[in-house]
């Protein structure tokens, strides 16, 4: 039996001239684990909303054709009935949580649909999603990953046959991302749920999904088994989907004539080991890293900090932290959610005051500095760009700090920054109404407006699709020469590998490792302990030869050749 049957679906949003979905016909069998991929704006989310009845019952517009979920025609049933068949987890999942405590939220839908056993259903859903034992906690105490699991539990509690997740792991560190997918696999295999994920991370698709559906311009190009789908490297890249790094490397080798054209490309590291078995590692001389020197830019000495908590003892973040960052360094600060990365950054810009110890910039304690001087020396770009938009246009936002300080020629500099970050055309728009990548670029422009000696970036690539992420990574490496010292807090290991010269690993408020990338990623204990994970291509190189330290596909291609 099919979970979803769509025949000739065409849908146009109200007030939009072009249809967003065009003549879509497809079947999704029961028990499938399907990844939906495609460009931004290709209609992925719209298609998913047509499955749970939001389209056309809640979001109007013109719809032609038929959609059947679990045998029910969505035109004949209202959202309430369909919601019990199709669960939906949004990309901005925290906004779908409406109750203060965990169990309350998990059982909320069941209560609303008048199930007398709503609490048991909520508990069962929490158990399935791995949140057992947290029933009484408040939702704002949960980490990002746990919040996502709660949103999932809220959907699972109604016991729908189909679950749809929109970009489930975009905001999560690798450990939490693994957990989400483990839960989804369990729901799929042991509870018979049909699962649809809108996903850009092809590594996860390769590991977990059974089929892949490619959408382009409101149409479905194809639905294929995962192994076959990921082979279509050119077609995917055309839609800004990047196959797993192993596949990309194999594709590069095939183009170079090293791998035969008729053998399927590997999609996982395990497949890669077989496919690349004939390759030999060519050791290369690596340029010796420049000896660190120069004066101190940021110095954190014996800093302790604790937060007040709602109940009980204050929560200690740092206890006697020491850290020294020298002028000109490009530092990545990594560690799982809640390790203290954002807090450390807030200490450095003086937004938080340590309970003990000192933080100094360029040899001078922050406490002795005027706010005016401080903001010229150091600048912080938030994880959430919306919180940096305090004026009604991007131009005004970028100009603000220079204008109030009466920086000479601030208008000219604003225009230059707009140009540099390709925002000139959008200059008069409110930042909130722009796309994810544009918002990021704007927040970077705001961050460097005063030409700070030190730039702090909190998760600059979180929540972006892969194509936009690449773009921001390019912007960041482009910025390298105009900023002296920069610190990035991130989960994005590709960014870390390509950008950082020094990596600092935080865990529970302590520095557990500090060094260049070769040193950090070679340590297996860190990978276990902190949950950091090198890029897939690095793992692939390591699996073939322990000496190989490749961080990009190009490095891999030049290090491995025919035996």
């Amino acid at each position: 039996m099919n979970a979803v049957e769509i025949g000739g679906l065409t849908y146009t949003y109200p007030g939009v001239p072009q249809p967003t979905l065009r003549d879509i016909s497809l079947q999704i069998p029961k028990g499938d684990f399907l990844a939906v991929v495609g460009n931004n704006g290709c209609g992925k989310s719209t298609l998913c909303k047509a499955l749970n009845g939001l389209i056309p019952h809640f979001i109007t517009g013109t719809m032609e054709g038929s959609v059947r979920v679990c045998g029910l025609n969505t035109l004949e049933y209202d959202v309430g009935v369909l919601a019990q068949k199709v669960g939906y987890v949004y990309q901005d999942f925290e906004n779908q949580i409406v109750r203060p405590t965990v169990l309350d939220d998990a059982s909320y839908s069941c209560l609303n649909y008048a199930f007398p056993d709503y609490l048991e259903r909520g508990r069962a859903a929490l158990k399935q999603c791995g949140l057992e034992g947290r029933e009484e906690e408040y939702v704002w105490q949960l980490s990002g990953g746990q919040t996502h699991l709660l949103a999932l539990a809220g959907a699972v509690s109604l016991r729908p046959d189909i679950l749809i997740l929109d970009e489930p792991i975009a905001q999560l560190d690798p450990m939490h991302a693994d957990r989400i997918y483990a839960v989804l696999r369990d729901l799929n295999e042991n509870h018979g749920k049909t699962i649809l994920v809108i996903e850009h991370h092809t590594e996860y698709i390769a590991d977990f999904c059974k089929h892949v559906m490619l959408m382009k311009d409101g149409q479905v190009r194809w639905i294929l088994p995962t192994e076959n789908a990921l082979q279509r490297v050119e077609e995917l890249e055309e839609c800004n989907i990047f196959p797993p790094q192993v596949t990309q490397a194999a594709y590069g080798l095939r183009k170079g004539g090293i791998l035969p054209a008729n053998v399927p490309l590997p999609t996982t590291v395990a497949d890669g080991e077989k496919a690349f078995a004939g390759l030999r590692y060519i050791p290369r001389e690596k340029p010796a890293p420049a000896a660190p020197g120069g004066e101190s830019a940021v110095s954190v000495q014996n800093v302790s900090l604790s937060y007040r908590s709602v109940k009980g003892e204050p929560h200690t973040v740092f206890d006697g932290l020491d850290l020294d960052i020298r002028k000109g360094e490009k530092v990545a600060l990594i560690g799982s959610n809640g390790a203290g990365k954002s807090t450390l950054m807030k200490l450095m810009v003086g937004l938080l005051k340590p309970n003990a110890g000192t933080v100094s910039l360029f040899g001078e304690a922050i406490g002795d500095k005027k706010a005016e001087d401080l903001s010229r020396q150091i600048s912080l770009v938030y994880q959430n760009p919306e919180e940096m938009f305090i004026k009604d246009s991007i131009r005004a936002d970028i100009a603000y700090a220079m204008e109030v300080r009466k920086v000479p020629e601030w208008e000219k500099r604003t225009a230059e920054l707009l140009e540099r970050f390709r925002l000139t055309e959008l200059a008069d728009r409110d930042g909130r109404l722009m796309s994810g990548g544009q918002m990021r670029r704007a927040s970077l422009a705001i961050g460097i407006a005063l030409n700070p000696g030190i730039l702090l970036l909190d998760e600059p690539t979180a929540n972006l699709d892969i194509a936009t992420r690449r773009e921001i990574m390019a912007v960041l490496s482009d910025m390298k020469d105009i900023i002296q010292t920069a610190i990035i807090a991130t989960h994005d290991m590709q960014l870390v590998c390509q950008w950082a010269e020094r990596i600092i690993v935080l865990r529970g408020g302590r520095v557990v490792a500090d060094g260049p990338r070769d040193e950090i990623f070679a340590r297996a204990d860190l990978v276990e302990q902190v949950g950091i994970r090198p890029p897939e291509i690095f793992t692939m190189g390591q699996a073939l030869d322990r000496r190989a330290l490749c961080y990009t596909i190009d490095e891999f291609l030049s290090s491995f050749q025919e035996a």
Partner: protein
């Protein structure tokens, strides 16, 4: 000495930071769900409040008011109300009546002014403390269930608990927007007295301006929330009578509630007795 004053002013500023406010609000809403008061049935507590929130207005008998006042003080202590709320309460009572006494003394009055002022003060204090006990001793969910039992519309009770769910997030976001101003703004120098006044005006202005981005961000967020509420059956629950029944089934009057009412009754009775004996 200078150092001491600097330190003092710093610690006061620290107390009034957004972080502190946020912490106090959360403490008030959720930090005391394990107290005796929080364990009571909201319906009983609301009925109790009806008495202690209304009757003192109409009685001017000092022993009776004093008895009520002592009782609600005890319940406030039992509810472990957050410090900020108590501070606001004290400030409120003083601004209502305390200053009158000071003014009376200034204009040549004497201690005879105490008695009438005491009555007014006791009335105001009793009623405020009764409100504090009920509205901050109960967690918002219980409160809204209690209100629903008395026939308040379901939308009101949902709004109360949703507001409390959003409050921590909104305050954090507000804090971050304020920080944006602090990081990028250029506050006036505040060494001189004139500068201090300008600095204060600047800060008030910033706080007001920060609401604008906060509103827009919230509006953006609510797009998902509205859809999610539809999916989660919010609209269906509002028209379904059995949902209300299921929700209210959790309310239960226990032994503690009886005890609470009995003690309250006893205290009031003793107070009335004393006042007739005097």
């Amino acid at each position: 000495m200078e150092k001491l004053t600097a330190k003092l002013s710093e610690s006061i500023l620290d107390k009034l930071s957004m972080d502190f406010l946020r912490n106090q609000v959360l403490k008030n809403a959720y930090g005391n769900d394990d107290t005796v008061i929080a364990g009571l049935d909201p319906r009983i507590l609301l009925a109790w409040y009806l008495f202690f929130g209304l009757v003192p207005w109409f009685v001017s008998d000092i022993p009776f008011l004093l008895g009520c006042f002592l009782l609600v003080m005890a319940t406030t202590l039992l509810a472990r109300v957050a410090g900020l709320v108590l501070f606001l309460f004290a400030l409120g009572v003083f601004s209502q009546t305390g200053y009158l006494f000071v003014v009376t003394l200034l204009f040549g009055g004497d201690a005879s002014a105490v008695a009438p002022l005491l009555i007014l003060t006791l009335k105001v204090a009793t009623i405020s403390l009764a409100s504090v006990t009920v509205f901050s001793g109960l967690d918002p969910d219980k409160l809204s269930n209690g209100l629903m039992w008395y026939g308040c519309p379901e939308r009101l009770s949902f709004s109360i608990s949703y507001a409390y769910r959003m409050l921590p997030m909104l305050m954090e976001e507000f804090q971050n927007v304020l920080l944006s101003y602090r990081l990028r703004g250029n506050p006036p120098a505040h060494e001189t007295f004139g500068g201090k006044v300008r600095y204060l005006i600047y800060q008030v202005k910033i706080i007001m301006q920060s609401f604008y981005p906060l509103m827009l961000n919230t509006a953006k967020r609510s797009r998902t929330t509205v859809e999610a509420l539809e999916l989660r059956g919010y609209r269906y629950a509002a028209v379904n009578k059995s949902v209300k029944k299921i929700k209210l089934a959790a309310l239960k009057v226990t032994y503690n509630d009886g005890l609470f009412l009995a003690i309250s009754f006893l205290v009031v009775a003793v107070a009335v007795l004393i006042s007739t004996l005097l």
